[in-house]
Symmetry: C2
Subunit: 291 residues, 2 copies
C-alpha cells in the first residue's frame, strides 16, 4: 500500500518535470527531486483525501507540488551559507553536483514550478479550490511558514533570540516541519470539501505529528548513523542548534515524542488509516528500541 | 505623473510588507524592496491598465507583486555564487548587509510573498482573474522565465552553449528581461478584461521594449558610470558575459536599440501614453548623446 503510493508519487513527479531547454536547470531540479525519499508529505495528502472519501488522482498535482516545495527547502538548506551539508538522502547534495549557482536557481525554480503544476494539472478541481490551495501553499512556503522557521533556526545557532528558548523552539518546530504536514492535510481537506470541524481536527493531527516528527529527527541526529538517515549525523549538536534534545535531553525528548504519537493515534484512529498507523508505528518502534 | 506613480507603488510596497516576527527576514526582504528604484515594471502594469480604461487601484497588488519578484531576482543575482555584486541601486547589496543565508531566504520569501499578496489584496478581482494572474506569475518567475534566462546567462559566461550564440543571446533577453515586462502588461490585460487582439499587440510591445531595455543595459555597462547606474559597471565584460555589445559591438547595439524603440512607438503611440513615451524618450535621448 505505502510502496504503491510512493511509486505513484515518483511516477507523477517524473512526468510533471520533463527535461527541456535549458537542460542544466531542469536536471538540477530533477536530481534532488528524484532522490529516493519517503515521500511522507505527498502521501499524507493522498491518504487524507482517501480517508475523506475522495479520489486520490485529483490530489496528485497538489501532493507532488508539496514534495517539490519540500525538496526546494532541502536544496537551499544544504547550501554552504546555510547548513553546509554535502549529503542528502544518501547522495551528494545538489550544490555538490551542480554548483551553488545552479542549486540556488533550482530551488527558486521549484518554488514556483510547484504552484504552476497545481494550476496546470489539477483538471478536476474548481478555480476556487485551486486558488485556496495556492493560497495555503504561499503561506506555508514563505515568511509565515518554512522561511520563518529556517531563519529562526539559523539565528538560534548563533545564540540570537528574539523570544525565550522554549518559545523559539516551538516556533521552529511549527514553522520548519509541521507547516508542510499541515499543508498536505489542509489541501486534501480543500479537495475533499471537508467541513470546518473535520479540517480543524485533522489540522490538529498534522500539528502534533509535525512536532513528533521533528523531535524524532532531533533524537535521530544524536543516536542514529549516516547509513540509517542518509545524511550527516551529529551536525545539530556541532552547530549548537536549538533542538528538543539540546533543551530537554534525549530521554525527555523520547518521552515527549511518544506522548505526541499517542495523541496522534487518538485523533486519527477513528478514520481508520493503515498508512498513518504505519508512520506512527515506525517512530514508536524505533524509539522503544532505544529506551 | 511618473513621480506620483512611483510614490504610490512605494507606499503600497511598504504597506503590504509589515515587519513582524521573525524580524531579520522581514527586514532583509524590506531592505532591498525599499531601495530607491525606477519601479519600471509595476508602473508598466498600472499604466497599461490606465490605457485600457481600468482603475489602477485594482492592479496595485499585482504591480507590487511584480516588483517583489524583480527584487527577489536582484537579491539572488547579487549573491557571491552568482554575479557577486556588492552594490545594488547605489547601496550595499542584500547579502553584504544581512549575510548570505538571510539573502537566500529573503529572496525565497519574496518569491511566494508576491502571489500571496495578489491573492490577499486583490479584493476587486474575481477568482478566475486572480488565478490567471498567478499562473502568469509562476511561468514568468520560474524555469520557463527568469530562472531559465539566468542559468543560460551564467552558462554563457563559462562559454557553455547548448544553442548558437545568437539564439542564446535572444533567449537570455527574452527570459531575463522581457519576461517581467510581459508579465506586467499581460496581467494588466487580464485585470482590464482586454480582448485577445489587444493583449497580443501589447505583448508584442512588451517583448520589443524588453529587448530594447536589455540592449540599453548592456550598452550602459560599457559606457556609463557607477554614479549613473547605481551598480558596478564593466562587470559584464570582465565576466565575459554574452551581451548584445560583446556580440555585435557598441555602435550596432545602439542602432538596434533605437530601431526597437521606434517600433515600440509605432505600437504604443495610438494608446496615447505619456508614461511609456517618457520611458522610451529617456533611452533615446541617452543613446543619442552617445552617438
Amino acid at each position: 500500500m505505502m510502496e504503491e503510493l510512493i511509486n505513484l508519487v515518483n511516477k507523477k513527479l517524473d512526468e510533471y518535470l520533463e527535461i527541456k531547454y535549458p537542460k542544466t536547470i531542469f536536471e538540477s531540479m530533477k536530481y534532488t527531486l528524484s532522490l529516493k525519499g519517503k515521500r511522507l508529505r505527498p502521501i499524507m495528502c493522498l491518504e487524507t483525501l482517501r480517508m475523506l472519501g475522495g479520489k486520490i488522482e485529483t490530489a496528485l498535482p497538489t501532493a507532488c507540488a508539496i514534495e517539490m516545495l519540500h525538496v526546494q527547502s532541502l536544496i537551499h538548506d544544504d547550501l554552504p551559507c546555510m547548513d553546509n551539508d554535502d549529503y542528502r538522502r544518501g547522495q551528494l547534495s545538489n550544490h555538490k553536483v551542480y554548483g551553488e549557482a545552479a542549486a540556488v536557481l533550482a530551488g527558486d525554480a521549484l518554488l514556483t514550478y510547484a504552484p504552476q503544476t497545481i494550476i496546470e494539472k489539477s483538471t478536476d478541481l474548481t478555480s476556487e479550490q485551486i486558488l485556496k490551495i495556492i493560497h495555503e501553499y504561499t503561506k506555508a512556503a514563505g515568511v509565515y511558514g518554512l522561511i520563518g522557521g529556517q531563519i529562526v533556526d539559523i539565528e538560534s545557532e548563533k545564540q540570537q533570540f528574539e523570544k525565550n528558548k522554549e518559545e523559539t523552539l516551538a516556533y521552529i518546530h511549527i514553522h520548519k516541519t509541521a507547516v508542510l504536514f499541515r499543508l498536505a492535510i489542509k489541501t486534501a481537506c480543500i479537495i475533499a470539501n471537508a467541513n470546518d470541524d473535520t479540517t480543524l481536527e485533522l489540522d490538529g493531527f498534522a500539528l502534533k505529528f509535525g512536532e513528533a516528527f521533528q523531535i524524532y529527527d532531533d533524537i535521530m541526529d544524536e543516536i542514529s548513523t549516516f547509513e540509517e538517515m542518509g545524511k550527516t549525523i551529529g551536525k545539530d549538536k556541532q552547530a549548537k542548534k536549538l533542538t528538543y534534545t539540546s533543551l530537554y535531553g534525549v530521554e525527555k525528548a523520547i518521552n515527549k515524542c511518544l506522548v505526541l504519537i499517542k495523541e496522534c493515534h487518538d485523533i486519527i484512529d477513528k478514520y481508520g488509516s493503515e498508512i498513518f498507523n504505519e508512520f506512527l508505528g515506525k517512530i514508536e518502534k524505533r524509539l522503544n528500541t532505544r529506551k
